[in-house]
Amino acid sequence: MADNERKLIKKCAKGDLDAFEDLISKYEKKAYNIALKILKNPEDAMDISQEAFIKVYKSIKKFKFQSSFSTWLYRIVTNTCMDFLRKNKLQVYSLDNPIKTDDGEIEREVKDNSNSTEEMYEKKMTKELVHQSIDKLDEIHRVAIILRDIEGFSYQEISEILGCTMGTVKSRISRARSSLKEIILEEMEQNDISIV
């Protein structure tokens, strides 16, 4: 850990808000993005990631310098998001509906277009589809994909963030990817899209 960060953390422990702002400025965006991907909604992402930062502020005195500060912070962010989801399970499910009818209509238009634009269009579709499909994963698998494939954390970091063993991380990521692929292939079959 950088010396600078260590100093900042010690200042924060004494209640220095400026130091705290300084400390988290590096991590705010990523934390917000993680929350956004997990919660799928900007308002919640803002509220919950801020709630997580407040938790970080309140418990920074207890930070032991044994793990890296960033994984500790992301751990609190992830946990706060998961707790929120658990509390609002029903509401979250109703947000889950994909916009299937739209896909169908757009697809019909595509067929009239020339080859090159069709290719481009379908490529965009696939990317969108991938992200829609990530939203359809159950929360544990979604978090695994978000941390590994979107945010690019290492296996070691993920095991610290999620508080589980490397073995669990490996199998969880593997399973998450398989089921993501399954969802995507199913969607593509339904919408008659092929991988570009």
């Binding site: 418990s59 990530i134 508080g163 589980c164 398989s178």
Partner: protein
């Protein structure tokens, strides 16, 4: 390495998590097998798209609103600290009063009748409010256990009656004469238990050990923190979930064991009879196999390329269908042979076991106690008044001490600001 092995290792290979030998085997199969290469390419493409997610910018007012929330939090924390200081000073002052009170009683031998009635009143109060007095402690424990039991039985009736009844029914079937009828049946058993435990780690570990000892396995498990940080030691409460599988015949004993580990908040049992679907699928596979055999015969007799291709296509389709359905059967077998249990554990603080007056007898007892305490309290107040008048001179000294304490507090507050 076969195709299934390959499929399982794709993810690890992509992230370079395989050892050298596995890696070589993987790459060898990748070269040999067209199907798997396709699977691999698909996965690579999907992950490429996944990685291409644009980072969203922070909302405009993000930092500002966070700052104001933090400032609010800081103020709250400060006032908490301040309150503690004030409280502890007041407590110290009170302590002085109490000590001098005891000192006065012992040394000045205030009239006997008063003292006796006060002693009489004290344990009664203790019983109802503080529980510090020996005898009443025991009673308190008793009533606590009592409520716990009452709660338990309430829970049993609260939880999804139908499922439970169903569970009990099949259980008696299993044990009874009718078990023969049940023998060939394919029944998928699953259960869910929500537990509250004050000793989270013990509960968690016992479940995992028990599952291992019963030749079961944990499919997934995890813990996370929830709620607010505990005030006393700064530790956060945890919630955990274990998704486990045990051999079908160990299902009920495992359930009972888990239920004994904490306070059961709710439970659900489910038994799904899939015998019919299972039989249907088996028959379907048999039909497909007949079809496959016929197609092979046709293939042998085929005379032109076009025909051969068409039959081969059909053959491949039938084969995949057979494989898929066999896989379904396999999955079912595993589900039938290994029952699944989901356990959710919530760590709770000890203090949460507050006495709740949800039992009629207890309520009555409480009422009686309440009335008698009130009576004794009135008595106590009367006696105290008499007593206070007697010791009025000493009280003046105490008052001076209190005033001094107050001045001290005020000065302290000013200094803080």
């Amino acid at each position: 390495m076969d195709c299934r092995d390959f499929d399982e290792k794709i993810s690890l290979y992509i992230d370079n998590q395989l050892d050298n030998i596995e890696k070589k085997e993987f790459e060898l199969h990748l070269l040999e097998c067209d199907e798997c290469r396709k699977e691999y390419d698909e996965m690579i493409k999907i992950l490429k798209f996944t990685g291409e997610t644009e980072e969203e910018e922070l909302p405009e007012n993000y930092k500002l609103s966070l700052r104001s929330k933090l400032e609010k939090e800081k103020k709250k924390e400060k006032s908490k600290v301040l309150n503690w200081r004030v409280l502890s000073t007041v407590a110290a002052a009170l302590f002085v009063v109490v000590v001098s009170y005891g000192f006065i009683i012992n040394n000045f031998g205030i009239n006997n009748i008063n003292q006796q009635s006060m002693d009489d009143a004290a344990p009664e109060i203790g019983k109802d409010y503080s529980g510090d007095v020996g005898n009443s402690q025991e009673q308190m424990n008793k009533s606590m256990k009592f409520t716990a039991k009452a709660k338990d039985s309430q829970n049993m009736t609260l939880t999804s009656d139908k499922d439970l009844a169903n569970g009990e029914f099949t259980e008696s079937l299993r044990n009874g004469d009718l078990s023969i009828e049940n023998a060939g049946k394919k029944i998928i058993k699953s259960g869910q238990i929500n537990l509250e435990s004050t000793e989270f780690d013990v509960t968690y570990d016992s479940i995992i050990n028990n599952v291992k000892n019963n030749n079961g396995y944990i499919e997934s498990s995890g813990t996370s923190f929830y709620g607010h940080i505990k005030a006393d030691d700064g530790e956060q409460l945890r919630s955990g979930n274990v998704f486990l599988r045990v051999p079908e015949e160990k299902f009920y004993s495992t359930l009972d064991f888990i239920k004994s580990l904490g306070e059961v908040k709710s439970q659900q049992l489910n038994e799904r009879d899939i015998s019919e679907s299972y039989l249907d699928t088996e028959n379907y596979i048999k039909n497909l196999e007949v079809q496959e055999k016929r197609l092979r015969e046709i293939l042998e007799k085929a005379n032109n390329v076009d025909e051969i291709l068409r039959v081969e296509n059909e053959l491949r389709r039938v084969r995949t269908e057979i494989d898929n359905n066999n896989q379904t059967l396999k999955n079912w077998d595993s589900l039938v042979n290994y029952s699944s249990i989901t356990v959710n554990i919530l760590e709770v603080k000890d203090e949460n076991q507050v006495i709740k007056l949800d039992d009629e007898g207890l309520l009555l007892k409480g009422k009686k106690g309440f009335i008698s305490t009130i009576n004794k309290l009135i008595n106590f107040v009367e006696n105290t008044l008499v007593f206070l008048m007697t010791i009025a001179p000493v009280l003046i000294i105490i008052a001076i001490i209190l005033i001094l304490a107050l001045i001290f507090i005020r000065r302290h507050l000013k200094q803080k600001q």
